[in-house]
């Protein structure tokens, strides 16, 4: 009796340590994933089906991925960083955490969609927009905001939500956009007012404000257009999307190979796959804008040329992230 217990115990120890005999034969790719679980699952299952490679991923926001990759730099636990705005990837590249790789694509990837040394590549894009609850607008008799200063209007007092710039790529891009439009001091002045008058609360994840708007927990949220469509409009929430006419920023979704990761070859395969027409067509479901010109764009998606974009400098935003965030924290105190 004692011996059987001992054997059972040893078996449990083995399983928990992740040792699964026979697994060694099957190929496994470890990924850090910045897409939401549901969406990530959608793309990854497609990849697994097509290639037969098993993917094990950990889902975190892009800020968290950056932090994890930095912490693990001596012994990286994943090979690929999938999604998340490229500002974080840029930051990581500047810290030497990424392994440059030029993916095999059937089109030319333009210069603003990649690092100069191919440390990271962009594989989707989207502009920053506002999402507002239509019931609220009707009740209050106001129009959805169409400029940044509209957000300061007393109609939306204590009724706006977005993520912390230091936990979410979405919010950081918003902040960096304002800094690039008005300079650091003026941007912080504006934000101080914004924080005092309009903010209801900050969320952790970039898309957290969208369902909040949908449920009328808050009136207005700030997020990327594809998320607003996928998580707000298409889910059936009573929301409407607008853009600031004075200019808005946009994100490029990043993809990179982590330096020293456990499966570099499989990682490269994954990155290549992300640029294929098949993979890029998958973006239709989530209203993301593909970078492969041969891919189809979903009806209703707002393409970048339909919005007034500022000349957003991703590289600068990425490299100065720490400085900008510290300034924000010091001024806003949160």
């Amino acid at each position: 009796m004692k011996r059987t217990i001992l054997i059972l115990l040893l078996a449990v120890v083995f399983v928990l340590s992740g040792f699964t005999p026979g697994q060694a034969a099957k190929k496994v790719l470890h990924i850090y994933e910045a897409f939401d679980t549901e969406e990530a699952q959608y793309y990854i299952e497609a990849f697994e089906k097509e290639t037969g490679i098993d993917v094990v991923y950990v889902r975190m926001s892009s800020g968290e991925v950056l932090a994890r990759v930095e912490a693990e730099s001596a012994n990286p636990q994943a090979s690929v960083w999938h999604a998340g705005s490229n500002t974080s990837h840029i930051n990581a590249a500047s810290k030497g955490l990424l392994a440059p790789y030029k993916p095999k694509t059937d089109f030319e990837l333009s210069g603003n969609l990649r690092a100069e040394d191919w440390a990271w590549t962009g594989f989707y894009s989207g502009a920053i927009g506002f999402v507002s609850n239509t019931n609220f607008l009707k009740k209050k008799g106001v129009k959805a905001p169409t400029s940044w200063d509209d957000l300061l209007s007393p109609a939306f007092a204590k009724n706006v939500a977005l993520a912390y710039p230091y936990t979410s790529g979405t919010a950081y891009t918003t902040y960096a956009t304002l800094v690039q439009m008005h300079g650091l001091e003026k941007a912080l002045d504006w934000w101080e007012k914004f924080d005092k008058q309009s903010i209801h609360q900050y969320t952790k994840s970039g898309t957290g404000c969208i369902p909040m708007v949908g449920l009328e927990e808050v009136a207005v949220g700030i997020s990327f257009s594809h998320d607003i469509l996928a998580k707000g409009v298409n889910k059936g929430y009573p929301v409407v999307m607008t853009f600031p006419q004075d200019g808005t920023g946009y994100e490029i979704g990043g993809l990179s190979l982590i330096k020293g990761g456990p499966e570099p070859e499989l990682g490269k395969q994954f990155i290549d796959w992300c640029f294929t027409v098949k993979a890029q067509n998958l973006f239709q479901k989530y209203n993301r804008l593909p970078v492969n010109p041969k891919a189809t764009v979903e009806k209703g998606s707002v393409t970048l040329d339909q919005v007034k974009l500022i000349d957003y400098n991703h590289i600068w935003a990425g490299q100065n992230k720490d400085k900008l965030v510290q300034a924000w924290r010091d001024r806003i105190g949160k």
């Binding site: 928990l16 889902r59 800020g63 932090a67 994840s205 898309t207 949908g214 059936g236 105190g333």
Partner: protein, 569 residues
């Protein structure tokens, strides 16, 4: 000279006794090692990290505490929240306990059951229910707005409401025990001498209960400060330390500042713990031996009945309302938008959420017996054996009770992210770190119930076993364990519940491969997917109830003959 020599001879002799039992010696050393590595070391690392800024050792974080709003604001907020909740929770717990022990209120067992419900469910379910009821699109919001106008459930008010419901039962349990143990003869004597009921209350009952009240206050304070799940859901812009520390670490990976916030969180809770354990509980005039003395209950005047009954009915009503809401919410299609009832959420749970459920069950089931046995063994060593460092062992093993989960979680990722002299394995990403975290976090539960059970046993019985030739381990296994079996199993039950509902420490150490139900629920709430959160929460509660039922059945089967006989002739 003689005195010094005497102590040394005794100490040496005690040591020699332990030496003669190698198994015991090894066990003691092993436990010291585990406590050092899994309890002390992580906390120490948090402290050390808070002193390292830009890879240099300095105090700048602590100097910044008073100047940087993002430090002192959360600290003040947490303290205010803690104090408010402590007052409301203790008041509620006291009136409830008074109603049950001193008035002829009907359905006592039912009320007591309802009161303990929040203890066995994950604490942030109450927040979830609050949003479903009183949020912007809450079911009761229109009615409440008619009464008090515009309001927001997010923030300090909502948090106090929610935490009072979640932690008031803890105060209730403490105060119930205290009121039960006050000798009814004292109150009867006062009445005999002419005192009215009110006078008896203010001159006899209340003064005797004050140490208990202070204890309850401190315990609720600690729980509120350490609360992570509820503030994550419902704090709005009212930032508290636990959440801020979490965001610093996982959002910015600012270990230095995150650790500082964690230390700011640790200081008040540790202080409260010390005050409670080493000062307040010593001042008790009332020894809670677990033997209810059965206070006499008389027909009571209306001015006593009214507040007491009101408190009971109100609180129980709220519990039913809240948990009922969660059940109702779980069947909705899209909360706040589409309220057609559906089973879709549960179907999704079993498809997508199946992994979370299985993981939670596996990890909790692994951790629970270890918690129980380890806790029981440490209780045995601390109470029955004499060796150097015994008091230290007791203190350290109870320490995790006072340390907020946030601090422990951060400590664990700091400690086990790389190999070190203390511990040559990397644990992050494995199941082990989760299991070990659960074991050492919940160990105080096992130890406390072990100590209580052991104190009921006549030490002569264990001495008799030793006298007849059994060494310490044999005595423990053949004599002690069977006799404390009922207490052991209830300790197991409680540990399992705590393991399944853990969130504040666990959230730091979950990884791609191993994930827990509570983390999934928080994720749903984060995305405002309230119906799914409700469904998952309900499944969790059902699992916990099932486990409790099974353990209760086992206790009933094993309980025969395990009571100590009292010699009465």
């Amino acid at each position: 000279m003689a005195k010094q020599g005497s102590n040394r001879q005794e100490i040496l002799a005690n040591l020699r006794l332990i030496w003669k039992e190698p198994l015991l010696l090894v066990s003691i050393l092993a436990i010291f090692y585990f406590l050092l590595v899994f309890v002390v070391y992580p906390i120490f690392l948090v402290f050390k990290t808070s002193l390292i800024v830009e890879k240099q050792f300095n105090f700048s974080n602590y100097l910044a505490i008073f100047s940087k709003r993002y430090f002192y604001q959360p600290f003040l907020n947490s303290m205010i929240l803690g104090a408010c909740t402590a007052f409301t929770g203790t008041f509620l717990g006291f009136t409830f306990a008074y109603a049950i022990t001193r008035t002829p209120i009907p359905f006592k067992r039912f009320f007591r059951l309802a009161a303990t419900f929040p203890i066995i469910s994950p604490p942030f379910i109450v927040s979830l229910a609050a949003i479903l009821l009183f949020g912007r699109s809450g079911s009761l919001t229109p009615f409440v707005q008619k009464i008090i106008g515009e309001y927001s459930i997010y923030g300090l008010g909502g948090l106090v409401l929610v935490e009072t419901i979640a932690y008031g039962p803890i105060a209730f349990l403490v105060l119930h025990g205290v009121l039960q143990a006050i000798d009814p003869a004292l109150e009867e004597a006062a009445m005999d001498l002419g005192a009215s009921r009110i006078r008896v209350f203010f001159t006899v009952t209340l003064p005797l209960a004050i140490p208990g009240i202070a204890s309850a206050w401190l315990l609720v304070f600690i729980e509120s400060m350490a609360d992570f799940g509820n503030p994550m859901v419902i704090s709005g812009d009212f930032r508290v330390l636990s959440v801020q520390a979490f965001l610093q670490i996982t959002g910015m990976y600012d270990l230095s500042r995150g650790s500082t916030l964690a230390i700011l969180l640790l200081a008040p809770t540790l202080t409260a713990f010390f005050i409670q354990k080493y000062w307040v509980s010593r001042k008790s005039y009332v020894t809670v031996t677990g033997k209810p003395t059965g206070a006499t209950i008389r027909g009571v005047e209306w001015y006593i009945k009214l507040p007491a009954y009101a408190s009971c009915f109100l609180f129980t009503g709220i519990i039913f309302l809240f948990y009922g809401m969660v059940i109702y919410g779980s069947f909705q299609t899209l909360w706040g938008v589409d309220s057609t009832l559906t089973l879709r959420n549960y179907v999704m749970m079993f498809k997508v959420g199946k992994d979370y459920i299985v993981d939670s069950l596996i990890l909790s089931t692994l951790a629970t017996p270890a918690t129980g046995i380890l806790g029981m063994f440490i209780a045995f060593l601390v109470i029955r054996k004499k060796f150097i460092g015994r008091r230290i062992m007791e203190f350290v093993s109870l320490l995790t009770f006072a340390v907020p989960g946030t601090v422990v979680g951060i400590g664990y990722i700091l400690a086990f992210n790389q190999r070190s002299l203390m511990f040559p394995f990397i644990l992050t990403g494995t199941a082990w770190i989760i299991v070990i975290l659960l074991i050492f976090r919940n160990m105080p539960v096992g130890i406390q119930s072990g100590i209580a059970a052991l104190q009921q046993i006549d030490p002569a019985i264990e001495e008799a076993s030793s006298d007849l030739g059994a060494d310490s381990n044999k005595t423990f296994i053949k004599i002690t364990l069977p006799m404390i079996a009922p207490a052991f199993f209830s300790g197991l039950a409680f540990s399992f519940v705590k393991a399944m509902t853990a969130i504040s420490a666990i959230i730091f150490v979950v990884s791609g491969r191993w994930n827990l139900i509570t983390v999934a629920v928080l994720g749903f709430v984060d995305n405002s997917q309230y119906a799914q959160a409700a469904a998952m929460s309900l499944i969790l509660i059902l699992i916990v109830l099932l486990a409790l039922g099974i353990i209760q059945m086992m206790v009933n089967r094993i309980g025969k003959g395990a009571r100590s006989i009292t010699v009465v002739d």
